[in-house]
Amino acid sequence: MRKTVITAMLILITAVFSGCSQTGIEQRGIIEGVIIDNTDKLDISYTFSMFDESEDSKDSLKTIKAKNIEDALLSLEKATGKISFWGQCEYIVLSFGTFDNAYDMLKFFIDNNKIPPDITVAFGDKNAVELLQKEKQQPSLIISEAEKISSSNNKVRTTLMQLVSDYIDNKRVASVCLFKSESKSLICSQAVLQKK
């Protein structure tokens, strides 16, 4: 009797605590990266780089214009019929602007417990953002380029936690990784983000 009770309890605990839920993997929209173009303040363009087995770059890049990321996610979920999953998100690319704008855009990611604090955050100029919105890039490419810059200069902020810490500490400027587009390829360089 005791063994039966213990076995039943173990099965229950495993089922509940292992994260087995009603949502299967095929019902989830796995987000690998986000490209945010906030040059137009009223209509921000969010491009979600989704994991797709077929690796078809057109299908795996979804661009949505919305006032904020929450609205964009609702539209994304409606369009794909899948629940967004942030556990595999590896990079965020923002259009280059001011430090304050960048912080506003990153608020959603700070509060999302599924996103690790060391997620790569980089910036892009107009051409680079356009390229990223049209052609899917491998997350490893963006991460390795950002890492190259940060390893050459440890003052360059390439992760969410570093950038947000600098903002909270009231630093006026932050060195960041800036992507530029040259003949359809991305080149990373160091740039300075300033507070208003």
Binding site: M9, I110, P116, Q162
Partner: protein, 351 residues
């Protein structure tokens, strides 16, 4: 079924208390309040360690001279007073049990699985604790030794895995001194050593004050390593995080291995189980001289009801999570009552 209460070694007893304290390091956000200098970060930890040991001395002293716990000793002298004190202890154990359980449940639904139903997690943990509560302190303390090894491995892994992110500039830029007092209050409140000892110390064999100091020291070293690692890695970002130490585990990485949040969560589940079971055993020890199934089930049921009420009512929730209520209860059960029994013992000796 009634079983006579057995004894455990001092090391096992202090390890089980150390693990119970660990719940709060992982699940309460107060640890994000980090100091602006390395030296200052040691102050609240050292103050609380010294105060906890000072509070513990009274229970220890009574037990050393009489072989009885604080509650047992007072019971022999004044039954009415003992009943009043027992009621306070019982309330403290129920309150602490609910706090441990709710802290864990909150972390579960915010960081692990948002769609999880709170009452179901509470129910499952309570059911597990009935089993460990019935098995008693001897079985639990043996399990604690294994979980302690798991804790050390996890802490080492999380710290070493974040080494590349260590930024010593973070120590200079963090918060102000005004948080020091707040931090010290929290550490003292989260320390179960004096209160649990007041009830369980008669069940510890080969006990010594040096042993208690040693394990209390280990407990605070673990807390210190985690707090400092969090500050070094996350910096001011930790202020934005609800569970800074859990966030720290997410950034752990060794070449292909990335993220130790699963490991951290497993550890949190274990220590929650240990903490809750220990509170159940303390409850049982307060009401009965034998291991009784009825008192175990009753204590778990009351913790379940209080925790469940907190999930439905904001007022109950803020009552359970009130740091100052916990602090007052800890002072009452860990300092005031043991001090009364200590004075009674001294007077008896003088007479």
């Amino acid at each position: 079924m009634i079983t006579k209460l057995g004894k455990i070694s001092g090391g096992q007893f202090y390890i089980s208390l150390l693990l119970t304290n660990t719940v709060f390091i992982f699940t309460l956000s107060d640890l994000s309040v980090a100091p602006n200098e390395l030296l200052l970060s040691l102050i609240p930890l050292l103050i609380s360690m010294a105060i906890s040991l000072f509070m513990f001395y009274f229970s220890y002293s009574v037990a050393e001279k009489s072989g009885k716990s604080v509650v047992e000793y007072i019971e022999n002298k004044n039954k009415a007073l003992a009943n009043l004190f027992k009621a306070i202890y019982l309330f403290y154990f129920l309150y602490s049990g609910s706090l441990i359980l709710l802290s864990y449940t909150k972390l579960f639904v915010t960081s692990v699985n948002r769609s999880a139903v709170m009452w179901f997690i509470i129910l499952l943990m309570c059911l597990s604790c009935i089993y460990s509560g019935v098995k008693g302190l001897e079985a639990l303390s043996r399990a604690c030794v294994i979980i302690f090894a798991f804790l050390i491995i996890t802490v080492l892994l999380v710290t070493a895995g974040n080494f590349t992110y260590f930024n010593f500039d973070n120590l200079r830029t963090m918060n102000s001194k005004e948080n020091q007092l707040d931090n010290a209050v929290f550490y003292i409140a989260a320390g179960f050593l004096p209160s649990a000892s007041a009830v369980l110390i008669n069940r510890v064999k080969n006990n010594s004050f040096a042993k208690a100091t040693l394990w209390q020291g280990v407990s605070y070293i673990v807390a210190f390593v985690l707090v400092i690692s969090t500050v070094l890695v996350l910096g001011s970002f930790s202020i934005t995080q609800q569970y800074p130490v859990f966030s720290l585990s997410q950034t752990t990485g060794f070449s292909l291995f990335k993220g130790a949040d699963g490991l951290a969560f497993a550890l949190i589940t274990f220590v929650t189980f240990i903490g809750l079971s220990l509170m159940t055993i303390c409850f049982n020890n307060t009401v009965s001289k034998e291991q009784s199934k009825l008192s175990t089930v009753l204590s778990v049921f009351l913790v379940f009801v209080l925790s469940l009420s907190a999930t439905f009512s904001d007022a109950v929730f803020s009552f359970v999570f009130n740091k100052y209520i916990l602090f007052s209860l800890t002072e009452l059960t860990g300092l005031v009552i043991p001090f009364v029994s200590y004075l009674m013992k001294r007077r008896e000796k003088g007479a």
